[in-house]
């Protein structure tokens, strides 16, 4: 399901490198929060359940 290239516009999308860099820095900062958080319990529980199921499958 590759995405087709819908982006053929030859509009001028150039911005100053400093602006581009600063936008990226802010994006990184924005998502560092999410990346730095502990995993939610639901996700940890899911992983535990999947591992348990795997080991039961192997044993059984």
């Amino acid at each position: 399901m590759s995405m087709t290239q819908s982006s053929r516009n030859s509009e001028d999308d150039s911005i100053a490198p400093t602006v581009a860099r600063q936008i990226d820095e802010n994006l990184r900062r924005l998502y560092d929060d999410a990346a730095g958080e502990d995993l939610p319990k639901g996700l940890s529980d899911l992983l535990d359940a999947l591992r348990k199921q795997d080991s039961e499958d192997r044993a059984g």
């Binding site: 290239q5 982006s7 100053a16 602006v19 990346a35 958080e37 899911l46 992983l47």
Partner: protein
């Protein structure tokens, strides 16, 4: 005895998946703009990945493989709920971990809301390359397109953000009175 054969120097993807979860969550938040929806999407991704690990080729890029599954899940969900009303203020923005300064938090919310105005393809390119540090090639592998397409989408996304946030092309951020400028020019750590 483990039934997962581990090639020398290649880790078990079932174990390695954990190391990618934080970035997957960040990507999901960026795509959905909603903390709960993002975590649901990551859970679905883990379930799908777990059931498809037999299709994963050891030694290939697990991160790109996982991100592709997440992206496909997101796009599939979008198609199913085409009429989904966007959370205009973004519950993710509202739940952003607190920043040290009020202006900075406002600026981050402004950035989040602006990001949500971008087309999916530009947003995902910016999230992967700009926010999560993927190489253009890895982002292209994740999105199933050419590296040049990712570059173009990311560039147009940055240009659109600059326009939405009132940053003129070529203008230095610190010459603007945008709230974002306050974040960029004053590192929160220094406040």
């Amino acid at each position: 005895m483990k039934d997962v054969i581990k090639a020398e120097g290649v880790s078990d993807p079932r174990e390695e998946i954990v190391t990618h979860l934080p970035a997957l969550r960040a990507f999901a938040r960026g795509l959905t703009g909603d903390v709960s929806a993002a975590d649901d999407l990551v859970q679905d991704t883990v379930l799908k990945a777990w059931s498809k690990f037999h299709l994963y080729q050891q030694g290939t890029n697990l991160r790109a493989w996982l991100f592709t599954i997440l992206r496909n899940g997101f796009l599939s969900g979008r198609r199913k709920s085409a009429k989904e009303v966007a959370d205009s203020e973004g519950s993710f923005a509202a739940k952003l971990a607190s920043k040290p300064d009020h202006d900075g938090r406002l600026a981050m919310q402004e950035l989040t809301v602006a990001l949500r105005q971008l087309p999916d393809e530009q947003r995902e390119a910016l999230l992967l390359v700009g926010a999560l540090g993927f190489s253009v090639e890895e982002a292209a592998e994740t999105c199933g397109c050419a590296p040049g397409t990712i570059k173009s989408r990311a560039n147009r996304g940055r240009a659109a953000l600059a326009q939405i946030l009132g940053l003129e092309k070529g203008e230095q951020l610190d010459n603007t009175d945008s709230a974002v400028a306050s974040v960029v020019t004053v590192a929160p750590d220094n406040l």
